[in-house]
Symmetry: C2
Subunit: 422 residues, 2 copies
């Protein structure tokens, strides 16, 4: 069911050999140029291939009048479903390799279709319909549970039975590159009334997320083995978190303002087709989950994830390394649980993995974990140290998958902390 | 700043004297008729006044080319903000009373503009941008806390310092009249692994909710005294809850599938202008909240709320009575807290009050409270009893405000429980 592009295929335009956007990737995004408004494209090396230009030229297997790619979001295209996604991907591989010569041999169309990435502005790829965040890394949940729960019973009793998740705030999902002001909020004061002030425990969270393409009807469920019909693709995500605000507010109804000021995602949506060559086993689950969460074809993807911290003083250091494959609950299980009550999903729903920690010592996806809630500062190469993020700090998350010569990037998501505004 | 319509004013069309939709109300909704698609209207007695017809005739103080009222939702109109809302309301009062004769004296336009309500289909009034639910009734939080927390410390330590709220699921917000299947889910089993099954503790929650009209920018806050510039109006809400699913899932990240299968709202959005005559003092707050939650003009509205239960066997009984005025945290405080971190709001955001219980004995907004978590069954007039909802049960919530001769309805929200689908 996945449209895998032959690893030996090459684009007819120049693509740097070390690019993470080879013809085997073709991630989707929304872009604009000075002369023309927002439209959809796929990344190919340093180019954006303008899908609206190809659509208007009648080269894509979608109804011309639909104008699926001439909109300010991918929602309408993603809603069409996997058969259309597969047909478009196969056609793009043929057109961009020259196996189908209609683009290669049309000089006018080539000028319109290949837009240099550096002359473009990227936008949120989807209109975010709703945003859900899961909590699916056993190591992260254990690390957090040891800090705030009983170290001997770090996981809550439900954790191994369901992919715990919560509804997040969709309006504050922003694109990579959005710098944000340190949030204000209610800060806990030991034994007394809370104080109003700027967050003192600002953190990042290393996550991935997937977008729903084809939706479902209210009152129906999606089984894990049908999930790939609905999942359009993946992005990187930084779920910025105000730990002090969150700690004071979250009992009994969960995170609210502690995670409502910014959630950053990467601009390019990488399809499951592009990730298929990097399929690996997902962790064995014990106890076995209930039948509605059991997968015939349980798998993860081998995606290396890194976090880099750059300070206002000029220090720049990798501070964490993890892998998507560590997640205990897979995306199909997350989606199956999300619809288990009959809850419907819609094109543009964004579903986060939760912080992705892992078994290795440096595989911690948040400062909360790395510094043991601020008690063990992290040393940086310029001699400074961090417990939590300081003003001017920039966090960059990157993701890539490698197998032999093939390298696929999820790209990067970055954001910088600006001073609080009282 | 509120556009109050003189209580002595009368419409020139027939409106039953006991109607809760007199010319002083004019709530907004979205409707369609067999011959024409979705558009906006206001309710007036048994009529829907077609605002798109008035807009096309050039009688409303909005730009004609905007077609604000010819859409399938109120989002675009609500986003214009209070000055436009006030101008439209003043014009409608003049047109519908005949003080401005242009509608009254135009026979063709009258035929287009007055649509019998029973010939219309109502739709969700807004495209729900996001849905947030608060927990703002002290009596409800205390009742629940006594059941599940320490009876001597029923309220969580943060409760009197902030309007506790959480992000709910926007996709499953449905219009009054939507019947839904009892949800399936993970049910807790004492001391063991959970079971998959149909919810056994299905409940209603008596709530009101408000819609955001004018939005805000990410990174800015809305003070409580600016809230009326952003709040478009109110509806009734039934936040159906699967108590067993919720109890097992909600630690540590809050309600998820236990409240994701249906949330019902009433079709007519009643403006703050219409509610202004029913203004009363809101409860005194002790301790005083932090400055960002302090109101210059703190007030509530005197809105009587009732819950009726109708069984498949034909029993029909009022089971609860409460009042909006009991809420400890007001809508302006809820909105101020929601934006305290810089979180932006958007037209179509739906914000629920939380279950509205009250000090009187029958002022309990859920079966959970009435039956003490199922331990004290509720007797019904047909000799049956309820701990939680059974298949075939219908719940109807109504709301109205009275002052002298003036009576304003919020209308009603109803829904029926259908059997689970495995």
């Amino acid at each position: 069911m996945f449209e895998i592009i032959d690893p030996s295929l090459r684009a007819f335009v120049e693509v740097a050999p070390d690019s993470g956007f080879p013809i085997q990737n073709l991630p989707y995004g929304i872009f604009s140029t000075p002369g023309q408004g927002m439209r959809a494209g796929v990344a190919l090396g340093g180019w954006i291939v303008d899908l609206h230009a190809l659509e208007r030229a009648g080269l894509l297997p979608v109804a011309d009048e639909a104008r699926l790619f001439g909109q300010g979001s991918l929602n309408a295209y993603a809603a069409t479903g996997r058969p259309t996604w597969a047909a478009v991907r196969a056609r793009l591989a043929a057109l961009l390799s020259g196996q189908d010569p209609r683009l290669r041999d049309d000089a006018d169309l080539r000028v319109r279709a290949f837009v240099p990435m550096e002359q473009s502005t990227l936008h949120l790829p989807f209109e975010i319909a709703s945003y859900t965040d899961f909590y699916s890394s056993e190591e992260h949940a254990t690390n957090v549970g040891k800090l705030f729960r009983d170290p001997a019973n770090a996981l809550s009793p439900n954790w191994k039975h369901m992919p715990i998740g919560y509804n997040g705030r969709a309006s504050s999902v922003v694109l990579s590159g959005h710098d944000f002001h340190r949030p204000m909020g209610q800060l806990p004061v030991a034994g007394g009334a809370p104080a109003w002030g700027a967050c003192r425990q600002l953190d990042f969270e290393l996550e991935t997320a997937f977008f729903i393409g084809r939706g479902s009807e209210l009152g129906t469920r999606i089984g894990p083995d049908q999930a790939a019909e609905h999942i359009f693709g993946m992005v990187l995500m930084n779920d910025w978190s105000a730990r002090d605000i969150q700690r004071w507010e979250y009992v009994p109804l969960g995170p609210f303002q502690g995670k409502a000021f910014a959630t950053s995602i990467s601009p390019w949506v990488v399809t499951l087709d592009a990730l298929e060559p990097f399929r690996v086993d997902a962790p064995v689950q014990d106890p076995a989950p209930l039948p509605y969460l059991r997968e015939q074809d349980r798998h993860a993807y081998d995606i290396e994830l890194t976090v880099e911290l750059a300070t206002a003083g000029g220090a720049r250091a990798p501070i964490a390394r993890s892998n998507f494959r560590h997640l205990y609950w897979t995306m199909p299980q997350q989606l199956a649980h999300h619809t288990s009550s009959g809850c419907n999903v819609r094109a543009g729903d964004l579903m986060g993995s939760g912080t992705i920690s892992g078994p290795a010592g440096d595989a911690m996806g948040s400062l909360l974990e790395m510094t043991r809630n601020g008690s063990q500062p992290l040393a940086l190469p310029d001699g400074s140290s961090r417990t939590f993020l300081e003003d001017g700090d920039e966090v960059v998350i990157r993701g890539e998958a490698r197998r032999g010569e093939l390298r696929i990037e999820l790209g990067s998501v970055r954001g910088r902390v600006l001073p609080a505004r009282d």
